[in-house]
Amino acid sequence: MIAYLIRRLLYALPILLGVNLITFALFFMVNTPDDMARIHLGAKQTTAEMIQAWKAARGYDKPLFYNPAADGVAALTDTLFVQESLKLFTFDFGLSDSGRDIVADIRQRMGPSLALAVPTFLLGLWVNITLALAVVLFRYTAVDRMALVAAVVMMSISGLFYIIGGQVLFSKVLHWVPISGYQPGVEAWKFLILPVLIGVVSGIGSGLRWYRTLFLEEVNKDYVRTARAKGLSEWRTLGRHVLRNGLLPILTGVVVVIPTLFMGSLVMESFFGIPGLGSYTIEAIQGQDFAIVKAMVFLGAVLYIIGLLLTDIAYAWADPRVRFQ
C-alpha cells in the first residue's frame, strides 16, 4: 500500500514537469518578459533601464529553454524554465510580479475560498443525493418524470443566469443578503449563503440526473431484491443498500474534486467579490501576472494529482472488492 502510494507520487513528477512545460511555453508565447515589465511598470515614461531592472529582479532576463551563453549542461539548466520550475517543486512560489509574496497571499485567500467551496460541495452533494434517492424512491412515476424534466431544464440554463438572477432577486429586490462582499470569521455566513445557494441550485440539474442513473442501475440488482425479501422497507433498502453501492461510482467523480476545492471557484468568487483563490487566479490572468498564474497552475496540478490518489484510497476503503495489486 505504502509502496503503491509512493510509486504514484513519483509518477506525479513527470506530470508536474509536463504541466510546467506547457504553462511556460504558453505564457511566454503570449508575453515576452518585456511586455510583462511594461504592464507592471505602467504606461507612462517607461525606459529601457527600468525594464531591464524589473526583469533582472525576477530572473526573467534569462532565456526560456536554452541558454547559449552558458556552457555545457548549464546551457540547459541556467534557463528560466529550469530555475523557476525547480523552485515550484519546493513550493517556493516566490514573489508575484507586483512584489507580494505568493505563498502569504495564498494562505490569506484560501480561507474564503474554502468557506465558499466546501459548503457548496457538501451541501450540493447532500442535496443531490437526497433528491436522487427521493426520485428513485418514486421511480417510474409522475414524480420521477417531472423531476427528470426539471433536471434537464435546469441543466440547460447557463450558470451565469443563476448568478445574475440570484443577485437581482435576493439582494436587490428582497434585501435578504448583501449583494457581494466578505467578512472574515463568523460573519462570513451572511455573504456565503447566496453564492452557496446558487452553487447548489445550479448543480442540481446535472447532479440529480447523474445520481439518479447510478442509483437506478443499483436498484435493479439482485442484492436489492434480497434486501427487500428480508422485509426491509423501500426507504431503508435505498438508504442502507442502494446508497452505499451507488456511492462507489460517485466517489470517482467526487473525491478527485475535493483537493481542488482549495482552488476556489473562478466565476462565483468574482461575481460575489469573495477574496479567494479563484478570483486571485482570474485577476492574475487578466493582469497577466505570470508568477501567480504559474504558481496556481502548479498548485492546481498538484491538487489534482492528490485528488487522483485520494480517489484510489477512497475506493479501496469503500469497496472491499478493490485492493491494490
Binding site: P14, I15, L16, G18, V19, I22, T23, L26, F27, M29, V30, N31, V152, V153, M155, S156, I157, S158, G159, L160, F161, I164, V168, E217, T260, M263, L266, V267, T281, I282, I285, Q286, Q288, V293, M296, V297, G300, A301, Y304, I305, L308
Partner: protein
Amino acid sequence: MSLVVLWTDALVWLLVVMLTLWSRVALRDRLVRERWQQVFASGMATASALVLLAYVSIALLDSLHFRLADGQVRSVLDLLFSHLLVQTERTYSAPFATIEYVKSVVQQNGTLQQVYQPLHHVRPDQFWPDVVWGLVTGLSVTGVLWLLRQRFSRFFANSIFARAPRRTFWFTLGLIVTMLSLMWWLSRDFHVFGTDKVGNDVLYQTLKSIRTGVLIGTLTTLLMLPLAVSLGVMAGYFKGWVDDLIQYLYTTLNSIPGVLLIAAAVLVMQGMLETNPHWFGSVEERADLRLLFLTLILGLTSWTGLARLLRAEALKLSQVEYVTAARALGAGHGRILLRHIVPNVMHLVLIAVVLDFSALVLAEAILSYVGVGVDPTMNSWGNMINAARLEMAREPVVWWSLTAAFIFMSIVVLAANLLSDRIQQVFNPRN
C-alpha cells in the same frame, strides 16, 4: 456579388457533407437503421431533433457568405433579414415598443425638452396584419409539406423518422416553421426582442448568435473526435507503453485547471493573430479566424474526458470474447480496432458528442465572461449575456437581451440534452 468562403464556413459545410455520407453508409446497415428509428420512436426525441435541425439550418444559412456590390460581406441569413440590418434605432427600446426606453433631450419649439423619442422603424398598426401573415405563411408552408408527404413516403419509410409519432413530427415542424415566419413578419415592423444600447435589433443578434453557438458546438467536436477516439481506443487496446504514454498525456493536460489552460491558449492565439495580420482582410475574417482557433483550442483541451472513457471501454472490449476470438482467428490489430472496437464504442462517442455540444454552448458564455471567448465583434450568446450583466443593474432593468439569449440558448441545450438522453437509452448495451 461573389461567394466568400470563410474558414469556418468551409469546415461546417464539410462537416455536413461528411455527416450525410456517413449516415448514408451507416444507415444502409439494417440494424443501425432500426436502432435510430427506435431513437426517434419517441416524440420527445423527434421534437428535439427537429429543433436542433432548425438551429443547424439557420447556422448553415448563416454560413453561406457573399460579398455584395458595396463590398460588405453578408450571409444568406443576413439577406433574409436584411431589413433588420437597416432598421437600427438610436438606443435601447423594449420588445414591441414604439418609443425609446429612456428619455432624451430634444429641441422642441425652441426649448430643450426631455421626452421619450419615437422609434424610427416601428409601425404599430401593422401588428395584426403581420401576425396574420406570419400564421398564414407558416401554416401554409407546413401544409404544403404535409400534402407532399405522399411524395416522400418512400423516404419516410426508410428514414430514421420511420417510426416517429406522426402527430408530434408535424406539430413540431409546424410550430417551428410558424414561429420563424411570425418572427420574420413581425421583425419587419417591430423590434421583436427590442434593441440594444446602440439601437441594433436584438432578434438579429440572437439569430446571428445561433451560428456561433452551433459552430462552437459542432466544430469543436469535429476537431476533438479523431484525437479522442484514436488515442482513447489505442490506449485501451494496446495497453503497455502506448497506454502509459497516452495516459501521461491526458493526465498532464487534465491536471492543468481548464480555464487557465484555455485562457492561456486563447491569449497565445490572439498574439498569433496580431503578428499575422495578413491572414485576414476584414473584420469578419478576423473574427472568423478567432472562432476557428477557439474551437481548435477547446477541441485540444476537451478530448481528454472522452478519451478516458473510451480507453476504459476499449480495455473492457479487448478482453471480451469476440475480440479474443478475432485475435485467435488471426486478425491484425488495425482490423480488430476498426471492425470490433471502434464500432462498439460509437454509442459512447455519439452521446458524448451531443452532450458536449450543449456543454460547449454553455461554456462559451463563461469564457466570454472571463474575457477569452469569441471575438467581441462577433454575435454570440456569451457576449450578449456578458453585456446583459450591466443592463441588469439598470433601473428600470433592461431585460430583453438576457431573455432573448436565455430563450434561444436554453432551447438548443435542452433539445440536445433530451436527444442525448434518448440515444443513451436506446444505444446503451445494458438496456
